[in-house]
């Protein structure tokens, strides 16, 4: 059967859908220019579980759960569910952690960088420039033979671990719902103010996440791959998807009056251009070395790729370190140890890029 979502119009359609839905999710209650941000939302889940205690970013985001389960559904329907793993898992964990730390210095994953741009946040330009620079460095390593090694086939159970974790999180959200004025509900933490306190209705978030997960699994939508393939192969296939995302998010923002151009005072953003860029250099490099943006890692987790699952778990650990160690930025600027973390991250990712070569 031909996969229509893997055609040019397919990937453009998926990018457009994500753009429109992200802008609407923001309209329906999600934080500013953060309709869907994979890094921020994984960070919020980390906070909801009490693995970091930054009180303004604690919420089990149903979108993330939807992205994994939606991808699982598509993989099962189209017989692409393939439990696999064993391609340098610990390295992928480290890449996930530093990708998250870099993203939290900028304040957003590539999806959010594009959504910030589409909402008029000029600081996103520096983030995107950094992202492209980081991916470019990654492509140099790839050309020089960088490789994390082959995966092997795993038993079915292994492939179900990440979808089961996602389903378990959703169950927790249902059992321990937000209680007005309370920071804690059972085992979960909630934000009383800040971005963690802003959310679209649970059902809306989950359903949109499910649909995006399903479509993105079919189309292989990836914001890192978009720039990587453009640089490595001069191929615009995935790139046309991210352009569609930006254009459609921008248009939707104009229609619902969410477009506010400028640099200062943008939602959940800071104006330190150098660190906006360098944070994303680190994130972009880590994504390129791991073979996918955070969204793509979630979709791969859903179709049984346990290495992508390890990357996601690494992102959770990275989020915890980022907030516990003062590495993450805030609208006031970068964290006290943000600079050190970016430098260490670049050194570690550089070492991985230089040394990991396998036939």
């Amino acid at each position: 059967m031909k996969n229509i979502f893997a055609t040019r119009s397919g990937i453009i359609g998926v990018g457009a859908f994500i753009g429109v839905m992200a802008a609407l999710l923001q309209f329906w209650g999600n934080p500013g220019n953060m309709g869907i941000c994979v890094a921020c939302f994984v960070r919020d889940i980390t906070g909801a579980l009490g693995l970091h205690r930054a009180s303004v970013v604690q919420y089990v985001r149903p979108e993330i759960i939807g992205l994994v389960i939606g991808s699982l559904a598509a993989a099962l329907v189209f017989k692409e569910f393939r439990p696999r793993g064993g391609s340098a898992p610990i390295v992928r964990f480290v890449l996930g952690a530093f990708a998250m730390i870099g993203a939290l210095v900028f304040l957003g994953c590539p999806w959010r960088a594009m959504l910030r741009l589409a909402g008029g946040d000029g600081n996103a330009i520096f983030g995107l420039l950094g992202l492209v620079a980081g991916i470019w460095i990654g492509t140099r390593f790839l050309k020089a033979g960088y490789n994390l090694g082959r995966t092997r086939v795993y038993s079915t159970t292994a492939g179900w671990v990440m979808p089961a974790l996602a389903a378990g999180l959703f169950l927790l959200l249902l059992i321990f719902p937000r209680t007005e004025g309370q920071e804690q509900s059972g085992v979960l933490f909630y934000s009383l103010k800040g971005p963690g306190a802003m959310n679209a209705p649970i059902a809306v978030s989950l359903i949109i996440g499910l649909i995006i997960g399903f479509l993105a699994q079919r189309s292989r939508f990836c914001t890192m791959g978009a720039f990587r393939d453009l640089i490595l192969f001069k191929q615009v296939h995935l790139f046309s998807g991210v352009v569609a995302l930006i254009v459609f998010a921008f248009t939707t923002n104009l229609i619902v009056k969410q477009f506010h151009p400028g640099f200062a005072g943008q939602p959940v953003a800071h104006v330190l251009h150098l660190w906006n860029a360098l944070g994303m250099v680190l994130a972009g490099l880590a994504f390129a070395l791991a073979g996918g943006c955070p969204g793509r890692q979630l979709f791969l987790s859903g179709e049984g790729d346990t290495d992508a699952g390890i990357f996601v778990v690494g992102m959770v650990a990275g989020a915890a370190f980022a907030h516990n160690f003062g590495l993450a930025s805030s609208p006031a600027g970068i964290g006290p140890h943000g600079m050190a973390a970016v430098v260490i991250g670049l050194i570690v990712c550089g070492a991985i890029g230089f040394t990991m070569k396998q036939k």
Partner: protein, 71 residues
């Protein structure tokens, strides 16, 4: 037949290996082995944009056998 075995490798490796092999080979037929649908699509796309044609794709267990020829 000259074979590129990219099974177990994730993108962009299968594409890099295939394009590399296309540039080096003197043969006009080649076989590429991959094991995910995404790699199958990416390799097919890269083959076409390098002036080769996908002649046939046969699934065989966990593997997709992609037969390609020049022109």
């Amino acid at each position: 037949m000259e074979t590129v075995d990219a099974r177990g490798l994730s993108c962009p490796q299968p594409v890099l290996m295939t394009v590399d092999a296309l540039k080096k080979t003197s043969a006009d037929r080649m076989l590429v082995l991959v094991d995910t649908a995404a790699s199958k699509e990416n390799v097919s796309r890269a083959v076409s944009s390098n002036g080769w044609t996908v002649a046939d794709i046969t699934p065989e267990g966990e593997t997709y056998r992609i037969e390609i020829h020049k022109g």
